[in-house]
């Protein structure tokens, strides 16, 4: 494996073990996509093949069929403890929001009820800084207030691999072990480690999904990349954003910011 991937892997494993040692109980969001599946692989490396906490799918019922099938297959093969947590219906969301943002809000609300039900103090979340300008500002250990909101204007200092790991009652922390990875890093690692992946990522009839979201708000992008080598080549030459297929980011100039400050991943 390249030195760069070795370094990234070692740092992520350190973060995962650090969170497990300091925060209890913890859970991990597994959206079944390439990022959180790579994160799951890192967890298994950190704990020598075991996954010592539950995985959670915030389920809107709107994931693509292939995604559910892939989840069921890996759950069985890797003997995983997966919680499928239902999200509240779209009618319950703020009706003044644009439609795609409203659909995404369901996950935010689902996360709140999840935290309430399971009392998780820490949630592993597979976001990356290069995905989006707002996520670039994230901390590795990112505290959330009682209502799940993110105070991006007053984030804790984070340096020298020492993290904020203690919080007042009722708050929780998002742990971001792959924050410093890029999209290409994830693909190279997936290839090197031979991590299984949902085949929606590979091009069929000139289209492929670059990012997997709900079927009502995610569109495939034009591509002929039908294997990982081709995907890596495509990414190294493209200038289209990874989340170009995600409608919720684009509806208004600040729709993603609003989502995130209210607790979206």
């Amino acid at each position: 494996m390249s030195q760069h991937l070795d370094d990234l892997e070692a740092k992520s494993i350190y973060i995962i073990r650090e969170a497990y040692a300091r925060i209890n109980p913890v859970g991990m969001l597994w959206s079944i996509g390439k990022d959180s599946t790579a994160m799951l692989w890192l967890v298994r490396k950190a704990f020598f093949g075991r996954v010592p906490f539950p995985l959670v799918l915030l389920d809107t019922g709107m994931e693509m069929d292939e995604v559910y099938a892939f989840r069921d297959m890996l759950t069985k093969e890797w003997d995983l403890d997966v919680i499928s947590h239902p999200c509240p219906p779209e009618e319950d969301m703020d009706q003044t929001l644009p439609p795609a943002t409203r659909a995404a809000m369901r996950k935010t609300e689902g996360l709140k009820t999840l935290l309430n039900e399971h009392q998780f103090k820490g949630i592993f979340c597979g976001i990356r800084r290069d995905e989006q300008g707002l996520r670039a500002k994230e901390r590795v250990f990112s505290p959330r207030s009682m209502d799940g909101s993110w105070d991006f204007k007053d984030q804790p200092p984070e340096f020298w691999d020492q993290y904020k790991t203690e919080f007042p009652e009722g708050c929780h922390v998002r742990i971001h072990p792959i924050l410093q990875w890029t999209e290409v890093d994830i693909w190279k690692y997936t290839q090197e480690q031979d991590i299984p992946l949902c085949d929606l990522y590979y091009a069929r009839d000139g289209m492929r999904y670059r990012s997997l979201g709900e079927k009502n708000i995610t569109k495939p992008v034009p591509s002929t990349a039908s294997n990982i080598d081709e995907i890596i080549h495509e990414l190294e030459t493209t200038k289209t954003s990874e989340r170009a297929g995600r409608a919720m980011d684009k509806e208004t100039e600040d729709s993603f910011e609003k989502l995130r400050s209210q607790g979206y991943m």
Binding site: A46, F47, F48, P52, D130, G133, P157, E158, Q162, S241
Partner: protein
């Protein structure tokens, strides 16, 4: 991808005074290296038109609406881009003073720094402050850019002057700029392309300078340090996990653990998916190992080789930056973390305050304010394995916590402190300290509290014995094993051969110090009540068990004590009946740095007793972590 590209990504932090053009520089650099998404510039042009403001390169970064409205960067942003030579991640750090914590969060992740200075305004307050922070963060690779050269007509003389000022300051704090480059970020001059405006400048462009910097790599050449992060148990295996911070760990190595002084051999380096023949782990790698012996090891312990051990000390000095609204004060307690260790510490002294503007050092300060820098000495309850920053740049630095929050960080300096592990060794070479299989935590768990030495010192008549008796009763009633050492039970037996000459007094205190140390190690709370007039003697008593020792000054002036004269001793001393009486014809040296002062002149007995009782309770209580039964994580 270009096959000749360097695979590792270089982290670059951009710092400098507010409005000197950091965000503009980044926006332009992204554009010139063809790193922006298609349509990004048009999107920003659209936003600017809608808002009726002129186009700004800095808007490229300002993803937050709040930032667009205020036009300042309030938090660190990370941006990825590539030159022909390698990949970069740019960390844009805010310039405003109140956002120093964000600047530190960003800069601490970088391999190299670009310090942006406005050619017209020159070196300003934040230029100096940020440069000083780079120094505290250990930054070695620095490029200075003198920006907005267009504003000064590309005048080489202006460039020379600002460069000289800048270099002068950097050198005075021990930093060296590898490059000083004149640029006009808005037009892209000297970023990637040279442009036609500064033909007089012959050095590297900014991108050329960045390409010459190297990614920080963990130190393999330093002595091994493997801080234990956790202990996992499954399938009859006990695996110690952690990251090798420095050096190399090999299968078959004998590891020495601090602070427990335990030893064991590495029997395997574990991996998943199973890889056969893993025989070493280098600095930077996160690994798991198994040992030949089931010795007591837990998170926070540090494994090294038998040579080049970390120091053991319960006191250390730091060069520290402070980030909290609540000032750091002498006597306050905090938690510090370094590696995987966490320790409760109190501020023993604020040695100097450092002015980052003129670098003057001010002594005798009583507190450190937000965003200030100071040399501060901390004292811990237990001996900690410590490496000074100059020997180990990963473990030789602490992050300070108060309640839930990170409030500061500092580099450890041990120049004025001895290694207590060496000092604990007896002079005779044939006596070896036994590594007790019953460790202090186990004793503490059994007794419900830790041992400790609470050493009362003060003039005759200051109230030591009165307080000792009352405190003993109060603490004993709370179910704790406390015992008073005083003249009555020591002078008649152990020290019956000693008189009151200075030599005998010194020997008297030495023996009491050793007895107290043995008792405290056995888990007893020792309360000693002796005049113990000499600082040197008390310091020696402290050295017998530094992690247990607390010096409590029972304070009352001579006049007050002589007025009380409960045993009529002062009267006898005045009449010459007693010779060498402390305070009369023999000196008393008040403690220089007492852990606690109780003033019996101002306060009544009851108040003083509860002060001491509270202090003892706080210092012998079980840690929460000890209350938890099993510190091993059992993995299913």
């Amino acid at each position: 991808m270009d096959k000749n590209k360097i695979s590792q990504q270089l982290g670059v932090v951009i710092v400098g005074h507010v409005d000197h053009g950091k965000s503009t520089l980044i926006g332009r650099l992204l554009n010139d290296t063809n790193s922006l998404e298609d349509g990004k510039i048009d999107e920003i042009k659209g936003v600017c038109e809608r808002r009726g403001v002129p186009f700004e390169w800095s808007f490229v970064l300002d993803a937050f609406q709040a930032e667009r409205d205020q036009a300042v960067t309030i938090d660190t942003t990370q941006i990825f881009f590539s030159s022909d030579a390698r990949d970069y991640v740019i960390i844009d750090a805010p310039g405003h003073r109140e956002f120093l914590k964000n600047m530190i969060s960003g800069a601490s992740q970088a391999d190299a720094a670009v310090l942006v200075v406005d050619a017209d305004e020159g070196v300003r307050e934040q230029t100096r402050r940020h440069a000083y922070m780079l120094h505290l963060l250990g930054m070695k690779q620095i490029a200075v850019v003198i920006n907005k050269m267009d504003k000064v007509n590309y005048d080489p003389e202006v460039f020379e002057n600002v460069s000289r000022d800048c270099q002068h300051y950097l050198e005075s704090i021990g930093l060296h700029a590898s490059y000083i480059i004149p640029i006009a970020a808005r037009d892209g001059d000297m970023l990637d392309i040279r442009g036609d405006n500064m033909l007089w400048y012959k050095g590297k462009t900014l991108l050329g300078a960045l390409d010459s910097f190297e990614v920080h790599s963990p130190s393999i050449a330093r002595p091994l340090r493997f801080p234990i992060q956790d202990v996992y148990r499954f399938d009859e295996k006990r695996i110690l996990v952690g990251r090798v911070e420095t050096g190399i760990l090999r299968k078959g190595d004998t590891l020495f653990f601090s602070p427990t002084n335990e030893k064991a051999v590495v029997t395997s380096i574990e991996s998943w998916p199973l890889k056969r023949g893993v025989v070493e782990a280098q600095a930077g790698q996160s690994v798991g190992i198994t040992l030949s012996e089931p010795i007591f090891v837990e998170r926070g312990h540090i494994a090294s080789h038998e040579k080049n051990l970390p120091m053991l000390s319960n006191v250390f000095q730091t060069n520290l930056f402070w980030l909290s609204e609540r000032p750091l004060k002498v006597g306050n307690t905090y938690r510090v973390r370094y590696g995987t260790n966490e320790a409760r510490v109190s501020v023993q002294s604020i040695d100097t305050l450092v002015d980052t503007q003129d670098l003057k050092k001010q002594e005798g300060a009583s507190e450190v304010q937000k965003n200030a820098v100071a040399e501060v000495t901390f004292r811990a309850r237990d001996s900690l394995p410590i490496d000074p920053y100059k020997d180990n740049d990963k473990l030789g630095r602490v992050v300070v916590y108060e309640e839930y929050d990170v409030v500061g960080g500092g580099l450890i300096n041990m120049d004025n402190y001895p290694d207590q592990r060496q000092m604990g060794q007896p002079k005779s070479e044939n006596i070896y300290k036994v590594s007790h299989s019953v460790n202090p935590d186990m004793r503490a768990k059994m007794f419900g509290h830790y041992g400790g030495i609470f050493w009362l010192t003060g003039l005759s008549g200051s109230g030591k014995s009165t307080l000792a008796v009352a405190v003993e009763q109060a603490v004993f009633k709370r179910g704790k094993n406390i015992y008073v050492l005083d003249g009555d039970n020591v002078r008649h037996g152990l020290n019956a051969d000693l008189g009151f000459s200075p030599e005998d007094r010194t020997e008297n205190i030495r023996r009491i110090g050793e007895v107290a140390a043995l008792q405290a190690n056995a888990g007893v709370i020792v309360l000693s009540a002796f005049i113990s007039p000499y600082q040197q003697d008390r310091d020696r008593a402290r050295m017998a068990a530094p992690h247990h020792f607390h010096e409590i000054y029972v304070k009352a002036d001579l006049e007050t004590c002589e007025g009380r004269d409960p045993k009529g001793l002062y009267k006898k001393a005045r009449s010459g009946e007693i010779k060498e009486f402390t305070g009369i014809d023999s000196p008393y040296e008040p403690p220089k740095n007492p852990d606690l002062v109780v003033d019996t002149k101002i306060n009544d007995v009851e108040t003083c007793v509860s002060q001491i009782v509270d202090y003892i309770e706080a210092n012998v209580q079980l840690d929460k972590k000890l209350a938890a039964e099993e510190k091993i994580h059992v993995l299913k």
